[in-house]
């Protein structure tokens, strides 16, 4: 299968690889997927509690090239956005940006889930209720 140029670019030069301290109260961590399914994404964001702006985002992914690209792209997109704006990112946006073929859509779903899971984790740390529709769905 041929990969789109953008997938290859993210694979070769993944953005924002790394980890933030899970213990930091301002860091939200999302860990989604499972090794048995062949894909695990860890997405972390440092969120400013005053402005709700995502100031830093890091990821690590075990998965195919499209999964790596989806999570790399997700970190790029969420940086500088408010929590509210980040939650509006849909997996279909990722599919479009990376020109993912149908068999790779689930990789983008996982990235959307990782965003929700990370923000959910941060909200929990701050005692905020996570509404049902914001929970990771997969």
């Amino acid at each position: 299968m041929a990969y789109s140029e953008k997938v290859v670019d993210h694979y070769n030069n993944p953005r924002n690889v790394g980890s933030l301290s899970k213990e930091d109260p301002n860091v939200g961590t999302g860990l989604v997927g499972a090794p048995e399914c062949g894909d695990v994404m860890k997405l972390q964001m440092r969120i400013n509690p005053e402005t709700q702006v995502i100031e830093e985002a890091k990821f690590k992914t075990f998965g195919c090239g499209s999964a790596i690209a989806s999570s790399s792209l997700a970190t790029e997109w969420v940086k500088g956005k408010t929590v509210e704006e980040a939650l509006a990112i849909k997996n279909t946006d990722i599919v479009r940006e990376l020109s993912l073929p149908p068999v790779k859509i689930h990789c983008s779903v996982l990235a959307e889930d990782a965003i929700k899971a990370a923000i959910g984790n941060w909200k929990k740390k701050h005692g905020v209720e996570v509404p049902e529709h914001e929970k990771a769905s997969h």
Partner: protein, 406 residues
């Protein structure tokens, strides 16, 4: 020293044709184009003679007689014919077939089909090392068993089954033994007499011959095996496989077998040395690699290895100038990891990280060294990117984590 890229190391999928095979075939496309069934002129005779030479070359490689070789369009057809042909011919005798979990789909799907037509099939599990336990075969035998179908060597993990022992059991019980010999014939000694094999499927393109041609060995004595044809027509190949013979392909298959037979001792040594170089090189520079299946009972040209914490498709993407394959789900249309590795009891997490290296006649030490360097580089990079590797390094037991999945 510069190696020529891309490097082909996927010789279980198919092999490049040996130039000597091509040379042997060429005249049969043009001046010697006759139909081997044309009995009345020299064009036909030349074709027939070429076909008979090929029959002899193939028979010699597996210690059979030329009359026991039937030509087909490839091993998928040979597998179909040996199973369906026996099933239909001996239906009165019984309706039970024994096979095993990690056969090629050409066998498994044929068995599934036969089940729809009133046959009962036992799918034996394999042991952790990927081999069938002959005692399991013995225990599965019923009064109604007419056929045992076990592959000689597996196409993913290269593991070799104890065919001689299984053959002995089959013979004791008067049951036919059908063997998918695609990966083994031409690579390791296969002897239909010593192994008590009654039917043996062979493919041209796995042994440096052409695609679209194969053979089926059908035993004629002790015991005589009869087959119901699955293709009806002009009654070629003693009625077992109608259709004008693919003379060029058959010439190529014959020549390929002849070369394999002549060069096997030397080629085996070369393959073992290349494999050792590859395995040692990878293991020296990478931790947490696992070999899938028995190393001892394995084709000399196969290495199937899991690289923990690194998903196979992303690995393939990183070594895109090297052609190998992976058991990862992400590389398959079904998003299921390899059924072969699953049957071995390889955890699904590790199945996703497996790479199959299939060495071949034309690989060199330089190529192996290039592949090692590239693999080490990509695995190291992807492990830096892997949350699982990070967790493992932190001492977290990944199998105990509660994963958040659909």
């Amino acid at each position: 020293m510069a190696v020529k890229l891309p490097i082909y190391m996927d010789n279980h999928a198919t092999t490049p044709m040996d130039p000597r095979v091509l040379q042997a075939m060429l005249p049969y496309f043009t001046e010697k184009f006759g139909n081997a069934a044309s009995r009345n002129h020299s064009f036909g005779w030349a074709g027939e003679e070429a076909v008979e030479t090929a029959r002899q070359q193939i028979a010699s490689l597996i210690n059979a007689t030329p009359k026991e070789i039937i030509f087909t369009s490839g091993a998928t057809e040979s597998d179909n014919l040996m199973l369906k042909g026996v099933a239909e011919m001996y239906r009165e005798k019984g309706n039970h077939i024994i096979t095993q979990a990690i056969e090629h789909k050409a066998v498994l799907d044929t068995c599934k089909n036969l089940e729809k037509h009133g046959f009962e099939v036992t799918y034996l599990p394999v042991q952790r090392d990927g081999r069938v336990d002959p005692e399991d075969v013995r225990k599965a035998i019923r009064p109604s068993t007419i056929l045992i179908s076990i592959m000689y060597a597996n196409n993913e993990i290269g593991v070799i089954n104890p065919i001689a022992e299984i053959g002995k059991i089959a013979k004791e019980h008067g049951i036919f033994l059908a063997v998918d010999g695609v990966q083994a014939v031409g690579k390791i000694p296969v002897d239909v007499q010593k192994d008590n094999i009654d039917l043996l499927a062979i493919s041209g393109h796995k042994i440096y011959g052409p695609k679209g041609v194969g053979a089926l060995y059908v035993r004629r004595r002790n015991p005589r095996v009869q087959l119901a044809a699955i293709i009806d027509g002009g009654g070629h190949e003693r009625g077992m496989r109608s259709g004008t013979l693919n003379v060029t392909g058959i010439v190529g298959l014959g020549k390929a077998c002849e070369i394999c037979q002549q060069e096997m001792p030397e080629e085996t040594k070369r393959m073992l040395a290349l494999r050792k170089r590859l395995k040692d090189g990878l293991e020296a520079k990478l931790d947490e690699t696992f070999i899938n299946g028995s190393l001892e009972h394995r084709l000399p040209n196969n290495l199937n290895m899991s690289f923990a914490y690194v998903e196979g498709e992303s690995l393939l993407m990183g070594i895109n100038d090297v052609a190998v394959s992976s058991g990862s789900a992400c590389t398959s249309a079904t998003l299921e990891p390899s059924y072969v590795l699953k049957a071995l009891g390889v955890g699904e997490d590790l199945a996703h990280t497996s790479i199959r290296f299939g060495l071949g006649r034309f690989n060199t030490e330089e190529e192996v060294d290039y592949v090692i360097d590239k693999m080490v580089q990509v695995v190291t990079k992807l492990r830096e990117l892997s949350p699982l590797y990070e967790m493992a390094k932190e001492g977290i037991d990944i199998s105990k984590v509660k994963w958040q999945i659909a």
